[in-house]
């Protein structure tokens, strides 16, 4: 009888350990996948923005073709935003693009015809919408990273993390909080 109890006890404890392991393994996987999902959301918005920016530039060129410095800055950061690189680098490029677009919109203030153009207004509205969505998507990304990092660095999650590294946060650019200064 005692032997049976002992074996039974060992089986129960082993089953519990397996269950806990499975739970934490899956939890870590789920939260890891959520980060990937969150990045995919950002990626979608970056690509939409990539496609939209040339339309805006063309529209503005029709009225203010000599603002070449801004166009070049926009083109450069637009390319960097989608061409490879790490997530941090692409977000950094996206932030640079945000800054460049703001200068463009500020410049547009000096061209009443451009400002009055329906096409320009629509593009501006769409681009601002995308910028907001990028900010929201980054917020979701960062809160997913926070959940993941908390899980794999606290007990008992850290016992099951198997040496997984913490994910990095996507930093909120200073420019997004402060008003943009534009030099004429």
């Amino acid at each position: 009888m005692d032997g049976l109890f002992l074996i039974g006890g060992i089986v129960v404890v082993a089953a519990l350990i397996v269950l806990v392991f499975v739970y934490y393994y899956n939890r870590i996987r789920v939260l890891g996948n959520r980060i990937e999902e969150a990045w995919a959301q950002i990626d979608v918005q970056l690509k939409k923005r990539y496609d939209l920016v040339p339309n805006l530039v063309e529209t503005v060129k029709g009225y203010a073709s000599h603002e070449r410095a801004i166009f070049e800055k926009i083109a450069a950061s637009r390319e960097r935003m989608v061409s490879g690189g790490s997530r941090e680098e692409r977000m950094e490029a996206s932030n640079a693009l945000t800054g460049a677009l703001r200068s463009l919109f500020a410049v547009a203030e000096a061209y009443p015809n451009l400002k009055a153009s329906e096409n320009f207004k629509l593009l501006q509205e769409q681009l601002e919408g995308i910028e907001n969505k990028i900010a929201y998507a980054r917020q979701f990304y960062n809160s997913s990273v926070l959940d993941y990092n908390n899980l794999i660095t606290t007990i008992p999650g850290t016992w099951f993390a198997g040496g997984r590294q913490k994910h990095a946060f996507l930093e909120v650019p200073e420019a997004e909080r402060a008003p943009v200064k534009v030099a004429f």
């Binding site: 969150a38 959301q41 629509l122 601002e128 919408g129 809160s143």
Partner: protein, 304 residues
């Protein structure tokens, strides 16, 4: 932390939905039994299985199509076209921030300022705002209101709240029928007394029970609304502020609404608890409100 709380809320809402369906099913059964007993006692055996089938169909379609019922009952139309770009963008952005599927944006043409969310789960959700809300609020305020509605979706409040709306709607219809039966049933009861049929005492007891239920059915469901709405609204305010990262936007939206709304949206009481603020009463009639007082909501938001 936030996410754990959300999972708690989801579980609570699921339990509440199941409980609600059970309670409503029981009430319908008793009412059907009472009506059958009064009009055609000899068919009781037929009536009961039919009412069970009816309950199954009704609760299922309330679950599946409750959002459509609510949307058409409030006169909401899909938000299409140039005028609603910002609305659509904000709904999409906040749903991304909340990590849920994109809800369908709707507009209600009304000068009152209000909004609601409905649907059975985040994958089948809709957000409706009034044109008055879009007109009167600035962007941060509108964002605040929508973040509140998106929180309702993410917490799965919408499932329970929509079920309450549709199932309460039925309770209201049935109570209406029973009130008519009360007048009519009195005559039948009298006739039966005269004919001296057996079981007259039981008949009267069931009649009384039925009448009491008929009177209490809407009151009970109103109590459910009372109990759930207030806590849910505060919670949605809080998690909405967490989403938009700007409690002041929501607070100042509430302030504008408090000054602007006349409480004359004229929507059915059965759906009023879904709304951001009570559509049928102004902030002054707080005594009868199904919603927490706006001042209190503003106070809590500003204290964050």
């Amino acid at each position: 932390m936030g996410r754990l709380d959300v999972r708690d809320e989801m579980a609570k809402n699921r339990r509440a939905s199941v409980l609600l369906i059970a309670v409503v099913a029981a009430i319908i059964l008793v009412l059907a039994y009472t009506i059958a007993f009064l009009f055609a006692p000899e068919y009781l055996i037929v009536v009961l299985p039919f009412s069970l089938i009816f309950i199954a169909i009704y609760t299922y379609s309330s679950y599946m199509y409750g959002d459509q019922v609510v949307l058409s009952a409030t006169g909401a139309v899909p938000a299409e076209g140039r005028d609603y770009i910002y609305l659509r963008d904000t709904v999409e952005g906040l749903s991304i921030a909340a990590g849920i599927a994109l809800p369908k944006p709707y507009v209600i043409h009304s000068s009152e300022m209000n909004a609601f969310a409905t649907g059975r789960d985040p994958e089948h959700a809709s957000v409706a705002v009034t044109s008055g809300l879009i007109q009167e609020l600035n962007r941060q305020e509108l964002e605040g209101v929508i973040s509140h509605e998106i929180s309702h979706i993410r917490n799965r409040d919408i499932q329970f709240m929509t079920l309450v709306a549709v199932l309460v709607g039925l309770a209201a219809i049935l109570s209406h029928v029973i009130l008519r039966t009360f007048r009519y049933g009195g005559l039948i009861g009298g006739r039966r007394e005269r004919r001296g049929r057996r079981g007259g005492g039981i008949e009267i007891i069931i009649l009384v029970v039925g009448v009491i239920l008929a009177i209490f059915a809407p009151i009970l469901t109103r109590l459910v609304q009372f109990a759930v709405s207030r806590r849910r609204e505060f919670l949605a305010d809080a998690s909405g502020a967490e989403l938009s990262r700007y409690p002041e936007g929501l607070a100042s939206a509430l302030e504008k609404i408090m000054r602007h709304n006349q409480g004359k949206m004229d929507v059915s009481e059965a759906v009023s608890h879904l709304f951001f603020v009570d559509p049928n009463r102004s902030a002054l009639d707080a005594l009868y409100a199904t919603h927490p007082p706006i001042q209190e909501r503003i106070r809590r938001l500003r204290a964050m």
